[in-house]
Subunit: 471 residues, 2 copies
């Protein structure tokens, strides 16, 4: 990863940032840092997107402090970038125009749990694992699981989803309300704690997925779910990706309320076997999980087993012991590291697309053929219940030809998804990496509407500028 | 209902409307009407909100025609109001500044059904019953059920929900994408058919619930659900509203995936007994429905029965015969007419609020006491799984004192809901009737953000002006 100072920044922009830092320094003491290593850690570090560090990193402790920083930045037209756990994949935390990074490390409290209402109020810096640890004894949990131990603020900002989304929805479905510091410095509450409302524009959903370009989230009211009485997990081999996808479609159509249904292609299974010491047959595989009562998870598992058999898959091996479950899902979560271990020294370029589920098998198979024809190495994992899959391209960045072929492959991946009425990203977000696809995906009128909204709420373009689209 | 011509319209506004009508008349022939009765039918007719008719009603047949009308209206700064089935309750279809009403009667086609993807594409004029009739043979259905046979366009515009929302969500959860004619005349597609996306701002959710103030919906891609293998319905009496609400909380917390759970207070049960020839005990009552497999609905019903018993309710009488179910839910849907029949000649003033479910019992009981103290007559029905309930105030409009007391009661109802961190409307929307509560509910920064978005997308304020908020 190379530290890239934004060469195109004007002297005035640098001077403005310096003025903001000079004003903040005495107030924030050691909660403000301008050290190169700190700045670099707060820019993109997870894929091949350049590392574009902010001018300074501030660790706020209250919404008032965030307001304070935003107002000062607005006065000097200096960018403000929110930072959670730094696990975003498309350059969302980069600072192409410099500016102040707000790291929410210290704003990580659970402010309230309303178990009867199945909701809680948290600060944005708490991670999903820490939250679920906190909630465990209360019989409730927060279901969204992107794999990485991301912060809730970041998960909301990128409209994250993950393995449980097929049953529990994405962040758009699990955020009830947000407190947001707007570019004006005003603090906006997007909604109240009622489970639903028809009172005006849906500002909550507008902020979820806006990647910090419309405001900075400083508080989240989250919808929780009851911890299921019984959970069963299992793995099921299939003769082909096609058969695995068709089993998924049938399971969902027949109303099995599957909690997770994850595809691993043969290459990814091989990677997981090696990395996580499993001994699965190296063929396309579904990892599944069912939530419910004892009898309902048994029924769901049996029904899924029948569907798998019909499609030439199986046997469906299901385990309900917590330790077996954990081992399985740990392997699934480690798929990225497993893929990296298969090709040591390579950089992982993770990309995701999402298509209508009826086109998924075709999209995955076409992509596998494209990978082979491009002489590249790219295991596939997919949240197949949602029609969403990930390509982990393992690229030797020192090999220019390989990098060129990889970039071309990713372009074709998005074109393929769009041609199937899909989206250029199901869950990673746009950041910088996918900006170029938005026009093709949405068309000029929708992109124009997004720009008009951005200009209306952030006329000075200080909120995470240069992400999603350029003004 | 009194036809109220908007007295405050300027001569210029009237002239502009006349110019638009003159231009449209030759193009639309008998698909344009300026007759007083037609105009009056296309304004608010369902509650005590005034009837404020548009200047003309046009029946478009294509998105191009809608574009055509909108462009012409924009050129003359004349309001455009979309009209579906006319079942909105807060004056959403009124034309306080006159203008052109677009009645989507003729745009009622199903354009595509993708059963494998569990989605379909429809025009906005189709009603939910017509859609489900069309879908029935394909094993799928559209679950949102507001009672009235509303149009899908109107349901999306008001962020409608209804009896199935506790399990299937509201319109915000069941619209995948929209085609929208913007105030500029451009046609925007908000999203593609992928089940989820993280590609940019959530324009779909912004349009859902905007009540036509940001654009006119001309096509909807809807999420469908598989028709459950088994359905069981039943009724369960409770000693108090409190016990019924607590049973609801327990059922949801314990993870019973209840499809419908509806409260009727004792007065509403009496009304339903008389109107729908039932013989239920006249005490607070829950109507329930469970969806799943045979064994899962049996298990859900049994578990609910145990919960009800624990709380002093029951016996829970559950019937799975389709005709018994239909009779029960028909009675629930006819609750409004049943309430009217209890006090012939009275006008029904339907209002809804929604609170966190833990506060629901208190909110309902306080409201019942308030109704009694106000010497008013108002049965209550509630989508209690969502914390949402309806007050059907039956008011003699000729009795000025009664009207005054009713208005004051409705004010207190909203204040009570807001004080409990609830919303002034869970599902009816804002329209004209609830505009005055938005500031108290959302605060100035959120209302300011809504206004900024409105101004950005509709700078001339021609899209259903005077609804949700005034500019």
């Amino acid at each position: 990863m190379v530290l890239v100072e934004a060469e195109h920044r004007t002297a005035q922009e640098r001077k403005a940032a310096a003025a903001v830092i000079a004003a903040l320094a005495p107030r924030y003491g050691n909660r403000l840092s301008t050290s190169p290593s700190m700045r670099e850690q707060h820019a993109n570090t997870t894929t091949w997107v350049d590392n574009q560090p902010p001018d300074a990193v501030v660790f706020p402790q209250t919404t008032d402090e965030v307001q304070d920083v935003v107002r000062l930045c607005a006065a000097h037209r200096v960018p403000v970038i929110a930072f959670g756990a730094g696990t975003s994949l498309e350059g969302q935390v980069n600072a192409p125009r410099g500016g102040i990074c707000l790291d929410f490390r210290d704003m990580n409290r659970v402010l309230a749990v309303h178990a009867e209402d199945l909701d809680c109020v948290v600060e944005p810096g708490i991670t999903r694992k820490a939250l679920n640890e906190y909630l465990r004894d209360r019989g409730v949990f927060f279901p969204i699981d992107p794999g990485a131990d991301a912060s809730l603020g970041g998960m909301a900002a990128t409209r994250c989803s993950g393995t449980n989304a097929v049953r529990y929805g994405t962040m758009k479905d699990n955020v009830l309300a947000l407190k947001v510091v707007l570019a004006s410095g005003e603090v906006m509450s997007t909604a109240r704690r009622a489970k639903k409302s028809a009172a005006g524009y849906d500002l909550t959903r507008l902020m979820v997925g806006a990647e910090g370009t419309l405001g900075i989230i400083t508080e989240l009211t989250l919808r929780l779910s009851g911890i299921p009485e019984a959970i069963s997990s299992g793995v099921c081999p299939f003769p082909s990706v096609d058969a695995a996808c068709n089993a998924t479609i049938l399971a969902i159509q027949s109303g099995i309320p599957v909690a997770r249904i994850e595809l691993l292609d043969a290459l990814q299974v091989r990677a997981c076997n090696q990395y996580s010491k499993l001994d699965l047959p190296e063929v396309p595989m579904l990892f599944l999980e069912f939530h419910g009562t004892d009898s309902s998870v048994a029924e769901q598992s049996e029904r899924f087993g029948e569907i798998a058999k019909e499609l030439g898959g199986g046997p469906f091996d299901w385990a309900t012991r917590a330790e077996d479950r954990s081992r399985l899902w740990q392997a699934r979560h480690d798929a990225y590291w497993a893929a990296r271990a298969l090709r040591p020294g390579a950089q992982a370029l993770a990309s995701d697309v999402c298509v209508p589920i009826s086109r998924l098998a075709e999209c995955v198979s076409d992509t596998q053929r494209d990978v082979a024809a491009s002489r590249l190495f790219a295991p596939i994992v997919g949240h197949v219940g949602d029609g969403n899959f990930h390509l982990s391209l393992m690229v030797d960045l020192a090999d220019g030809g390989e990098v060129t072929r990889a970039k071309a492959l990713l372009e074709r991946l998005v074109e393929r998804a769009l041609a199937m009425d899909g989206t250029c990203t199901g869950e990673h977000g746009v950041g910088q990496g996918k900006m170029k696809y938005l026009l093709a995906e949405h068309g000029a009128p929708a992109l124009g509407a997004m720009r008009a909204i951005k200009q209306a709420l952030d006329p000075l373009d200080i909120m995470n500028p240069g992400k999603i689209f350029s003004l």
